[in-house]
Symmetry: C2
Subunit: 699 residues, 2 copies
């Protein structure tokens, strides 16, 4: 799930992590607890093997090596953009599916980067001493500087290494995560969207489910399949009800430690506003995709992303308006604050933390829209400039300035450790569709004017007397950055080349950057430091009170969760945890999004499919957005499933885990094999998966 993710909590959450709860770091996995409940506790070697067999897709997903030849299993929706980018007017791989019958038919994905976590080391001492006694802007600068230094020392100038200082427990612990980086990643297999997203938006986040949300890509090194000694073997039988299951992956983020003031801001402002914005864009975008086949092809990945975020945010919102969850959060905070207050030393160290955070939240409110619409924020969030051209131009304009600074003084996204990712995005050969660009830029300029107001100086500066649509059309007509060579020239030419450019978007980015930087600076120096510092103090207070027997909030770094194949109660009836392929044929109506692809209909007509094959399953693993593409595996490190979703109740996992109904949803390994073999005739892959055999032998 790219799926940023809320749940209808029926019960009050107790204070400590319960049965099956937790997105654990690999260096603090509660093996003894798992062994006690399930009769098996992972040892160090097992954990290391699972860690090295797992990969992150830098764009926001998870995956796993499933052969010694670099074959990676992930979701269709994680590779959707790539599949769309490789398609043309004439050949639509999203609609028709993709299969490289031979190795040399595997095609490079322009924008996929894989990260394999190699080592974890504790750098808390260095980080804490670098910021000791500092506040506000100085705190932020010192923190950023020390992070940049540590990362630089770790990675040097090696593009193949990625080093990130990871903030865990909101600054209670800082770890250095060292990754091996793969940037040559090629598409091997993807089914038709009709089955990869069967049930479409109506079934998204629902269960029972019938969905083959899979794609396979392959990591390459020096133009050859990467040698990957660590990989998950394949279970042809899969898992059954009650079996112990593990999920390794990269949950994008949870907010289980937010203060009440922050939660209130989420509930009353941030989530509703994101939803208003997404809902309207969804309506417009849906209509855009209906204008014609080409519009559909070029915009459907964006629509999928928008619908997915919309549903996920709505789930979160629903969790926050649930009284039981809210009251539980309030009680926990009051209890911790009371405990801190009673101890004079703790009160002195941590007592001010909550008000510090609340003040930052209050200060953020009146300028939040300027921050979002002028500087632009996270994906799925509102923005004044929805445009690939603008993103490219802004990168060039900022790089020209930032790269002249010492590493530790740069904006974090331009630190050396992140440059390979910046360059991959900047020099991506992914097509740009001018008509779609015009639509979404024009749309976002209207929202810019609406949200900041027609009289806002920035709006006047950007629009002048032009209408949003008119400006968008004019900008696209003057856009030159489709030319990859020009982008390279501007990147290499630095500030003088960028200043001399007459590209319409470079000019726009230059015009707007002072305003964007000003509001960014305010956010990074006035708002963020007290929020971070407050969170760190609260985390430390918790350590002191509760010990370190808990897991940290998710941070898009590798985590391991445990659980089992398990049904649940919904609206008074028991939901069985495993569906079978035959169910898909029963559910099919022949109409989108419930129309099965021709390949499935034909295979069924021919009697080739075993309809009793387990298809999708629900497990009690604690996961969230970012876990999309994660392997589900058994105690023998064999793949039994492929995470692609959570049920609707799991969305509240953002704020807390309810073991009675929160379920992870995966495709069962038997369904994957059955369909590759009997529906798609992908013999090369079947052999590779079954044997871990070299794909070279299969050409």
């Amino acid at each position: 799930m790219k799926r940023f993710a809320a749940l209808f909590l029926a019960a009050v959450l107790p204070l400590a992590a319960r049965a099956d709860e937790g997105m654990w770091t690999f260096d603090n996995f509660p093996s003894a607890k798992v062994a006690k409940k399930y009769g098996f506790g992972p040892d160090a070697k097992w954990l290391s093997e699972a860690q090295l067999s797992s990969v992150r897709l830098a764009g926001g997903c998870s995956g796993s090596f499933v052969s010694p030849e670099g074959l990676v299993m992930t979701n269709h929706h994680c590779a959707h953009s790539c599949i769309e980018q490789l398609s043309t007017k004439e050949k639509d791989f999203v609609k028709e599916g993709f299969y490289a019958a031979t190795l040399d038919q595997e095609v490079k994905c322009p924008e996929i980067e894989l990260n394999q976590l190699v080592t974890i080391s504790d750098v808390s001492k260095r980080m804490h001493s670098a910021t000791q006694g500092l506040e506000g802007q100085k705190f932020a600068e010192a923190q950023r500087g020390e992070m940049a230094r540590i990362e630089k020392e770790c990675a040097g100038d090696d593009d193949k290494v990625r080093c990130d200082v990871v903030t865990l427990y909101h600054g209670g612990i800082y770890d250095l995560y060292k990754y091996k980086r793969f940037q040559d990643v090629r598409l091997v297999f993807a089914p038709e969207l009709a089955i990869a997203f069967f049930g479409g938006d109506p079934d998204n986040f629902n269960f029972p489910r019938y969905d083959l949300d899979v794609s396979f890509v392959r990591a390459y090194e020096q133009d050859k399949p990467a040698k990957t000694d660590h990989y998950f073997k394949w279970s042809t039988t899969g898992a059954k009800d009650g079996d112990l299951t593990f999920v390794s992956g990269h949950p994008g983020g949870t907010d289980r430690e937010l203060t009440l003031a922050q939660l209130k801001f989420q509930r009353d402002i941030a989530l509703p506003e994101a939803l208003f914005s997404l809902a309207e864009y969804r309506g417009a975008l849906t209509m855009y995709t209906k204008l014609g086949a080409e519009q559909h092809r070029t915009a459907e990945a964006e629509l999928f992303g928008v619908e997915n975020s919309y549903k996920a945010f709505k789930g979160r919102y629903e969790a926050l308006i649930t009284e039981t969850l809210w009251n539980d959060k309030a009680q926990r905070e009051q209890k911790l604050r009371a405990t801190v207050k009673k101890d004079r030393s703790m009160q002195k160290q941590y007592g001010a933390a909550w008000d510090m955070v609340a003040k930052a939240v209050d200060e953020y409110k009146p300028r939040r829209k300027e921050y979002q619409y002028i500087e632009g924020a996270s994906p799925g969030r509102p923005s004044g400039f929805r445009s690939r051209y603008f993103t490219l131009a802004k990168t060039l304009v900022r790089a020209a300035e930032e790269l002249g600074k010492p590493n530790e003084k740069r904006l974090p996204e331009f630190r050396d450790s992140n440059l390979p990712a910046v360059k991959q995005a900047l020099f991506s050969a992914a097509p740009i569709y001018d008509e779609f660009e015009t639509f979404r830029l024009g749309y976002s300029l209207i929202k810019l004017r609406e949200e900041l107001g027609a009289d806002h100086p920035f709006v006047k500066k950007v629009l002048g007397k032009k209408s949003p649509q008119e400006l968008a059309t004019e900008l696209i007509a003057g856009a030159k950055l489709k030319d990859l060579e020009l982008r390279k020239k501007l990147w290499e030419g630095g500030k003088s080349a960028v200043d001399a450019s007459d590209d319409a978007f470079v000019r726009l980015a230059k015009l707007t950057d002072p305003d964007a930087r000003a509001v960014r600076k305010w956010h990074d120096e006035v708002i963020e430091p007290p929020e971070k510092k407050g969170a760190e103090l609260i985390a430390k207070a918790k350590f002191q009170v509760e010990g370190t027997s808990n897991y940290p909030d998710a941070t898009f770094t590798l985590r391991l969760s445990y659980g089992s194949v398990e049904g649940y109660e919904e609206k008074g009836r028991r939901v069985n945890p495993i569906t079978v392929i035959g169910g898909a044929f029963e559910r099919a109506t022949g109409r989108e999004p419930f129309a099965l692809p021709k390949s499935w209909l034909v295979a069924n007509q021919d009697g080739r499919i075993n309809l009793g094959t387990p298809f999708d399953m629900a497990t009690s693993n604690d996961i969230i957005g970012g876990n999309s593409g994660s392997p589900v595996f058994n105690k023998n490190l064999e793949v039994v499933g492929l995470i692609f979703d959570g049920n609707i109740q799991s969305l509240g996992g953002e704020y807390g885990f309810d073991p009675t109904v929160n379920r992870a949803i995966s495709v069962c390994s038997p369904a994957l094999l059955e369909s590759l073999d009997r529906i798609y005739g992908a013999k090369r892959m079947v052999t590779e998966l079954r044997a871990g055999a070299s794909p070279a032998g299969l050409r």
Copy 2:
């Protein structure tokens, strides 16, 4: 404003109605208080004249007689649907404006009904004794029955009389309002939309403003202009800063007396959900209007309504998440509850009221979507069947059943008192656009499936294996109700005719009506009675504690508010209360929605316009959605303005009035006359307005 309306309350609201606050009934106007502040207090004769000169537009607006020949002034946006309905592909009056240079060029509006309030009489005793000691369903039935009897006794079978029992102070008082009804209403004048809605959605609910949101219609009786002895005279000079101003009109509804449980439901569920729904529909509808000129023409009135509701609901939402307002509401409720609790007799009578309401709210939550999507709710709210055809069919199907019952047993909308309105809507000659109908029905069916879930029995019953779009197309192809004669035949033929009809929508309405009735029955018998009864008990407790010196929540009945022309502070600067026509030319960009119409540009070029003429003004009158089209008049009963909006801060008026920033926005009478005279050359109207002279003399 059709505009359902929220404000950023800076200050805590005290308990009693303050300076300029209040939407007062004509029989309880605080003349002494006004006299004390402004040196003038209306007497009975003055009040009667103002009452009889005011009219209601049954569709949701206000207006006033401005000549003895039935000439009525209202907003352009109140007649927008009519103007659109009178337009054709060839002649677009919305875009080009409309002016009947002679009386016989005035054209009938298919759906406008005017109501002139003639008498008010207190029927509280009858109503209270009819429901004494009853609860739940019995309470609701008794109440409905007694209302129907009173209305019937009052109006008899006279179509020209409309009698409504009006619930004031949530049942503290019941009044019988007797109206004279006009159903032959003809369009006289409307300017181009470009000036009637100058600044469009970006400027909507904003001030300073430059907007000529006016239209004139005329009431007819027996095919001749109605003789209207009571009417407002015209002030050619208008009002100046500080002048006392009155506004009479029909504020649609306020929620100033909701309990905390109800407010919480509004804040967390009702408003956000309505906004999610409106936002998405807005996005889709905007794209629809861009498909072509014809799509634009046929859908822009709906888009305007959606954008207006969206902004109004957002304002309300923002008021509810304002801590000061929330805390004030909480304190008031706690204080009243504490006072009640201290007095044994009061506690016995009223003590249970708040929990009664809270329980009803809780019970409503889990089935709210079924109620909304299956039975359909108020305008601007979500619905599963956005379709004029479906609305007509549902009316026919229900009428066939309801009209066979005694008056007091019918659903309220089919009581004799309401039949003229039902018939006017049913037999309206307004065009139906099949392409637009297909679009919005398909859209709403998708939402029906999304909100209730693909597996909901009702969804399965409606859709079967069809896609929403497919079903919509099929239904429209089988729609026959465009034929007015057929509608009449089905209405007159009753149940047997309706049962025999093969019209696709009649069949759909028959198919869905049992489900719709079931959920309606649940709502009307289980949810509404305790909410109403609780509100009535709380109102009585308030009477007992505070006396009757207050005004009731708005109920789309005639109210009078007082105030003055007054500026306010916004973002640290003073906003002047009056703009001038020259400002429009400064603000114009030549691009929609800031493009002035050609008539204005030419008149300005020719030097015909006095640019210093007062254009729009802000007054401190307490108004809300439904007051659109209200006259603003001085102590001499002369029109000085025409309400068309409130500022953004006024939207919180739903829940409370903040005198420092809440402002009503109107067009100044001099701008109306100046533009009619010098821009539009509407000499006939200028003479009629100036003189109250017979329009017959002006042919």
